[in-house]
């Protein structure tokens, strides 16, 4: 018998008041798939990703994700960190909440990999947008999620940071299921197993 899909969205709609953001979105993802979501500004990419991780609920239809919160990683438009804590303190906080084994080693490895080790003791409020985005990626990858949901992850990253992210995504592809909303789908061409193009609802 075939395994149940990891993610199943059926006729999902989402409205804010009279404004419908998403209309009739359906897809299924198996473990290890990489879904690239594209569409113009305002087409509902961010809303769809927030629905996927449970930060919002559909107005109609259903989204089923066969994983609990501890196995989800999310990078949104905001970094979801504390601006007055240092990079290290932020990752330590999330590492404790996610019960990351060998937390300090994992944090050190991610900071090193994303080029933030030297800035680990600086408050996030002193970071550039690109550094903050790198920290957001470290936070999302910290607990080695099985479903990684990224909303325009290349935004604010410089060439080096974007290349680091591409490399990281290649490393996790196959092990983790990826859902990436992006305006640069060609960057993920080699990983992509499914595409979803959203129009304006």
């Amino acid at each position: 018998m075939a395994e149940a899909p990891l993610v199943r969205a059926r006729a999902v709609e989402r409205s804010y008041g009279a404004h419908r953001v998403l209309r009739d979105v359906s897809f299924e993802l198996d473990a290890g798939d990489a879904l690239v979501v594209t569409g113009p500004n305002g087409s509902g990419k961010t809303t769809l990703l927030r629905l996927l991780v449970g930060l919002a609920v559909p107005s109609r239809g259903t989204i089923e994700v066969e994983l609990d919160r501890s196995r989800l990683g999310f990078v949104g438009h905001e970094p979801l960190v504390y601006r007055e804590l240092t990079a290290l303190e932020n990752l330590d906080l999330y590492g404790r909440l996610y019960r990351v084994p060998e937390r300090r080693e994992r944090i050190g490895m991610l900071l090193e990999r994303f080029g933030l080790w030297e800035a680990r003791g600086q408050r996030v409020s002193a970071f550039s947008r690109g550094m903050t985005q790198r920290l957001a990626l470290c936070r999302a990858l910290l607990h080695e999620p099985e479903l990684l949901v990224l909303d325009e992850p290349h935004s604010a990253l410089d060439t080096q940071g974007a290349a680091l992210l591409d490399q990281e995504l290649e490393d996790v592809a196959g092990r983790s299921t990826l859902v990436v909303a992006t305006h640069e789908p060609e960057r993920l061409e080699r990983l992509t197993t499914a595409r979803l193009s959203l129009g304006t609802a």
């Binding site: 991780v53 449970g54 930060l55 919002a56 609920v57 609990d68 919160r69 501890s70 989800l72 999310f74 949104g76 438009h77 905001e78 970094p79 979801l80 960190v81 504390y82 601006r83 007055e84 804590l85 303190e89 906080l93 999330y94 404790r96 909440l97 996610y98 019960r99 408050r123 996030v124 903050t132 936070r139």
Partner: protein
């Protein structure tokens, strides 16, 4: 410490660290409560007696706590940190409990300064009054952390917080004043204890629905 209480400790410690670093809540609370007591000192007639002063102490404490609660979720609003906590695999009530403990620490620190100042300016406080302050503080922070989270999620948060919180604080003021001036303070202390228990359980259970859709 691990599990639920470990998460609560991590979250409360994070709030204390943020306050120690930013120092934008506690100094404001201390200045406000001292300024209020000084104003009351000059506003009350010399022959007014102690009872009006006891009432004003409770007014000062409630409004001082309101000042702290208004800032309680500011760090979580910035950079979407609350979404980060909501996504974490911890019981969401731990977020509320951590915030309640941190708010209680700030209010307690303000009271450590305010109570001696009150005694200096106005009248002595007995053990029942002090027990009333402790119980009232627990109730204020338990309800206030929930209400301020609700307000933080709305656009009119500066207006919404006092509109919801102050009616809920009326029983605390009644209990606190009663514990301070009544001949039978035990009844009022029991009332405050009951208020704390009921509203702490309600807030603990309701918090998940405040921070999720």
């Amino acid at each position: 410490m691990s599990g639920y209480l470990g998460d609560v400790a991590v979250l409360a410690r994070k709030d204390l660290r943020l306050e120690l670093r930013a120092r934008d809540t506690l100094p404001a609370m201390l200045l406000f409560v001292l300024a209020t007591l000084v104003v009351f000192h000059f506003a009350l007639p010399a022959d007014a007696g102690d009872d009006p002063a006891y009432g004003l102490l409770w007014v000062a404490l409630v409004f001082t706590s309101l000042l702290g609660l208004a800032r309680a979720w500011v760090p979580e609003r910035e950079a979407g940190a609350l979404d980060g906590l909501v996504l974490a695999p911890t019981d969401r009530s731990a977020i509320w409990l951590g915030k309640t403990i941190a708010s209680l620490a700030f209010l307690g620190a303000a009271e450590v300064v305010a109570i001696p100042a009150f005694v200096l300016f106005f009248a002595p406080l007995d053990a029942h009054a002090l027990a009333g302050v402790v119980l009232a503080s627990v109730g204020i922070c338990a309800v206030g952390s929930l209400v301020s989270a609700m307000a933080a999620a709305s656009r009119g948060r500066e207006v919404l917080l006092p509109l919801i919180f102050l009616p809920l604080a009326i029983p605390i003021v009644v209990g606190g004043v009663g514990a301070t001036i009544s001949e039978e303070p035990g009844k009022f202390l029991a009332f405050l204890g009951l208020y704390d228990a009921v509203f702490a359980i309600l807030s603990w259970a309701a918090f998940e629905y405040v921070v999720t859709e």
